[in-house]
């Protein structure tokens, strides 16, 4: 049940975030500080999420096959590979590392 609450809360929040941008006058959110914060917030969130979902299981820090997968994704990104190739490289290398690691 609590999963459904989380889903509906996320859906409502994300929808109103999208709609707000289309409805409010452009000047309301165009203060430079707000714009800068809006650009940097996703950077912080994505970086923290990437790190946690690579180097943690539950609340424990771990170093496992996912780290190898993430390195592969980073290499693909630097080589300007398409989105799907980046994700595919991470999945394939993680699976491969697990096979090799027993």
């Amino acid at each position: 049940m609590s999963v459904w609450i989380a889903i509906l809360a996320t859906a409502a929040g994300c929808y109103f975030a999208k709609l707000l941008g289309l409805l409010v006058p452009a000047t309301a959110l165009e203060r430079p500080l707000v714009q800068k914060l809006a650009a940097l917030l996703p950077v912080a969130l994505l970086a923290a999420l990437t790190a946690q979902q690579t180097f943690a299981t539950g609340q424990h820090l771990v170093l496992d096959a996912r780290a190898a997968g993430l390195v592969a994704a980073a290499v693909a990104l630097v080589l300007r590979a398409p989105f799907l190739v980046v994700v595919g490289a991470a999945v394939a290398v993680t699976a491969g590392a697990r096979v090799l690691g027993g």
Binding site: V3, A6, K18, G21, L49, T50, G58, V93
Partner: protein
């Protein structure tokens, strides 16, 4: 009119390309979500209702880690706030009638904004926004369903390395954002906070604390700039 038809078909081609490429990664989301323990209905509801990939991956990741559901939803919501700023820019560019806006809002995401904002005219921006949005919505939901069904069929999704799909998606979104030293500093600090506080704070909350890296770096930068500016004004 021939040239207009030609440029119209070019923008449709671009839009379909982006729509297909990203729409297919809905498969990765479906698998990840099912692997995180969400039911088929819950997984499909996320893609139908939330329809902004990073938030969806963040939510199922946080729920899988055993995080508080509301903290998980808050993290996903903050990731979705960037769409507000896409909406602001798209609103001026597309000049949509008021009645269309509630419907169009669901399609205000990274990819539609990227395609629409790259167009030189309002007509082409509208075509790009609409075609990208519709292609993505249909494919993202279809591939989510297939991914969730596939995950149930293959059993242990981690053995296939599919638990690396989520972080790889985040990294792929993050990479192009790291343009200047400020962004890199924010990212580095967020990683330190996110990992360092994980063992001591409840799951899901750490991501929100790590988000504070953004205002913190802005504040420190602002102070640094003020300090270097004041002496110049004194001289003048």
């Amino acid at each position: 009119m021939r040239s207009r038809a030609k440029t119209d078909s070019a923008v449709v081609g671009d839009a379909l390309g982006v729509g297909f490429a990203v729409g297919l990664s809905g498969f990765a989301f479906g698998v990840t979500s099912a692997g995180a323990g969400l039911t088929l209905a819950q997984t499909c509801a996320l893609s139908l209702l939330v329809f902004t990939g990073a938030s969806q991956f963040a939510l199922v990741g946080a729920l899988a880690a055993g995080g508080n559901p509301l903290a998980a939803a808050a993290g996903a919501f903050f990731l979705g706030v960037r769409n507000t700023f896409y909406g602001l820019r798209l609103s001026q560019l597309l000049a949509l009638p008021r009645l269309v806006r509630p419907l169009a809002a669901q399609a205000v995401i990274d990819e539609t904004a990227a395609v629409a904002l790259a167009q030189p005219t309002r007509r082409r921006a509208r075509i790009g926004f609409t075609v990208t949005g519709l292609t993505l919505y249909v494919l993202w939901n279809l591939t989510t369903l297939l991914g969730a069904l596939g995950a149930e069929a293959i059993g242990d999704t981690n053995a296939w390395g599919l638990d690396a799909a989520g972080p790889a998606v985040f990294l792929a979104l993050l990479g192009p954002m790291l343009r200047t030293a400020t962004e890199r500093l924010v990212a580095g600090l967020a990683v330190l906070l996110g990992l360092g506080l994980l063992p001591v704070l409840p799951g899901g909350v750490t991501v929100l604390v790590a988000a504070l890296a953004a205002p913190l770096v802005l504040f420190l930068k602002g102070r640094g700039e003020r300090r270097t500016h004041i002496p110049k004004e004194d001289v003048r």
